[in-house]
Assembly symmetry: C2
Homo-oligomer: 353 residues x 2
DNA sequence: CATAGTTTGGAGAGCGCTCTCAACGGAACC
DNA sequence: GGTTCCGTTGAGAGCGCTCTCCAAACTATG
């Protein structure tokens, strides 16, 4: 290896200053004359020097990394690959991190390994941790032990959080189905251990109570196959079903497949509303009416709050979830909808670059 | 904060041993009596002590992290959220990292920031770096500067790599379309800066040369909208088109949409073959015949090679890419196919846990 | 010209850990 | 009994950097 390890000492020596001055320049600290500053900067550029992250972290107590902590339901990491949600989270975090010199560390663990994860993150974190799908109890532990933490989605009250209006959105999804004349509406919800799933379930319950609809619901595990199985079962048990609300697009995709396989039509026989507006929503046939979850923006907002140290206990930032009407709810669904309040995720993200 | 920072000194003192002995126990180093070992272990457990990662990295030169380096085409980070490919890579890496105490760091940069990224990774990496979509020149730089590096996909010859048989798979996709009687076959390929796209394009060219087909091809940028636009243009310029090969499923989904919007049918008028077997393949209508790319396994293999230090220069591991025949190529497509050689990604991943 | 105030730069003490090296004690051998 | 040797333990020197002093060099003031 022709590449010799450079230290700040090399830089200081070559620039003819002390280690301390070189350090000041590197950290943009005040108290260095413009002359020396440019001299050191030039040497740094010439040598291609980069400070050692570990040494810097050790000496300063600061950290150049931000943790993303994902608790996988039932320890099932494969959902990470199957659900577009997570890569959207990562894209959002990365967009907020761009140009900050902060690195992203991804931690995925099952609930059983979570305790160890708290220790690990607590020990190392400084920039902070974005918590995804972390239970209230666990989030509280993270909050107590780690310095900075922001949860993506509802969690324990004292833990700062960026929250999508899951409940209201689910309520609106059901209302939408109701508005186009559907009365036998079933919900395919997500796993219990997921707080977002819980919020959507709550909105569903509220809506059916207000609208006087029956409570027909099954768990689809946030997976396509789960959605397929759930819809198959629903169709068998409730032959008169005319609407399905799925708590994520992948389950909705599975449900549409099941409905089609059962020889029924979407939206004519059964209208379907999904949740997330993920990449699959537009791909399925018919294109899926769904609730647009601004995942990228939420993740970016959480990240920024962390970087700026803005996340005090009880800090909250709410994100609207709007309906994106496509064909799976028929031609009349767009009527009487409140206007969308958030820009499209992809467009907004592109706009930032 | 009620939580006091623990050091190895606290552990050593409480266990009545020296710092050195405590360190030996923590690192499973030999030369410690069983008696002391259990005593230290107990204190560690009692105190909930976890070594400081930064200090450990600094002192040992080792790193508890593994880097994932993704070079985004044209610096476009948003593709990260739009393409299921990347989250599958992450899922694969994480599955190989599970239980190793190694953390994953995700670095995404445009080609222009790549130089800086090399410095950064070189300065900090030890467990290694998995390179995704890194050009041969840049990969060679990484390889020269960093200690351990494995590329996901073809790259410079000296750089260790895990390679999907992109070229052969594309060849087979075209053959499949040819076998079911299609003769006016177009390709929607990926961006030039992507080595996988290049491999698939090469296979396409080889196939049409052998089969005596015309070279009809456009770039779809690995995005759904790109696939839609490409297919729309192809349909206009080549009204007699009867087959489309898309270099990724998202583009294939867009193409199917375009074909349908143009009033033509899949597969009757135009058969479509995608690439990746990502989550959308099964969701589109008709379900997409595609080439199954074992992304998770490849990423896991690359990670394991890194962890085990097995990746010598010129090291190569090839992964077969098999056809998954669904409906977008009609009823006869399954005939005459070579048997699949790789397990289904999701099933295989689930099997590991 | 002396004194106090203000920059600017350097010396040096750690940050928490690893790892080499030397010391120690007991077993084995001559 | 003395020597050698091995297994075990501790002392201490860093790893590369930050950051707090403190000294030196200026500038402003009386």
């Amino acid at each position: 290896m022709p590449y010799r390890k450079l230290t700040i000492e090399d830089v200081a020596h070559k620039a003819g200053v002390s280690r301390a001055t070189a350090s000041r320049v590197l950290n943009n600290a005040p108290g260095v004359s413009a002359d020396l500053r440019t001299r050191v900067d030039r040497v740094v550029a010439d040598l291609g020097y980069r400070p050692n992250a570990a040494a810097r972290a050790l000496a300063s107590g600061r950290r150049d990394a931000l943790d993303l902590v994902v608790i996988a339901c039932h320890g099932d990491i494969s959902l990470f690959g199957a659900q577009p949600y997570y890569s959207r989270v990562i894209a959002g975090v990365l967009s907020a991190l761009a140009g900050t010199d902060t690195q992203l560390r991804v931690n995925v663990a099952g609930a059983d390994e979570a305790a160890e994860l708290v220790d690990r993150v607590a020990q190392s974190v400084t920039a902070g941790a974005v918590l995804v799908n972390v239970s209230p109890a666990l989030a509280a532990r993270f909050h107590a032990r780690c310095r900075r933490v922001v949860s993506l989605g509802a969690t324990a009250p004292q833990v700062p959080a960026v929250e999508p209006e899951n409940s209201r959105a689910a309520y609106e999804a059901i209302s939408l189905l109701h508005r186009i004349g559907r009365r036998r509406i079933a919900a395919i919800h997500g796993p219990d251990c997921n707080t977002c799933a819980a919020g959507r379930r709550a909105g569903h319950l509220e809506a059916i109570r207000e609208l006087g609809l029956p409570d027909i619901a099954v768990d689809g595990g946030f997976r396509r196959e789960g959605g397929y199985a759930a819809a198959t079962r629903l169709l068998a048990e409730h032959p008169d079903l005319d609407g399905i609300f799925a708590a994520c697009d992948m389950m909705a995709a599975g449900a549409i497949q099941a409905i089609t396989d059962a020889g029924r039509r979407v939206p004519d026989d059964i209208a379907v509303v999904g949740f997330d507006d993920s990449a699959v929503a537009a791909c399925v046939s018919p294109p899926l009416t769904t609730m647009r979850l601004p995942v990228e923006q939420m993740a970016a907002a959480a990240t920024r709050a962390l970087l700026e140290g803005a996340a005090a206990p009880h800090w909250r930032r709410f994100f609207p979830v709007d309906a994106v009407v496509r064909s799976s709810t028929g031609p009349d669904a767009a009527l009487g909808l409140p206007p969308a309040r958030s820009p499209h995720p992809v467009a907004a993200l592109a706009g930032r670059t």
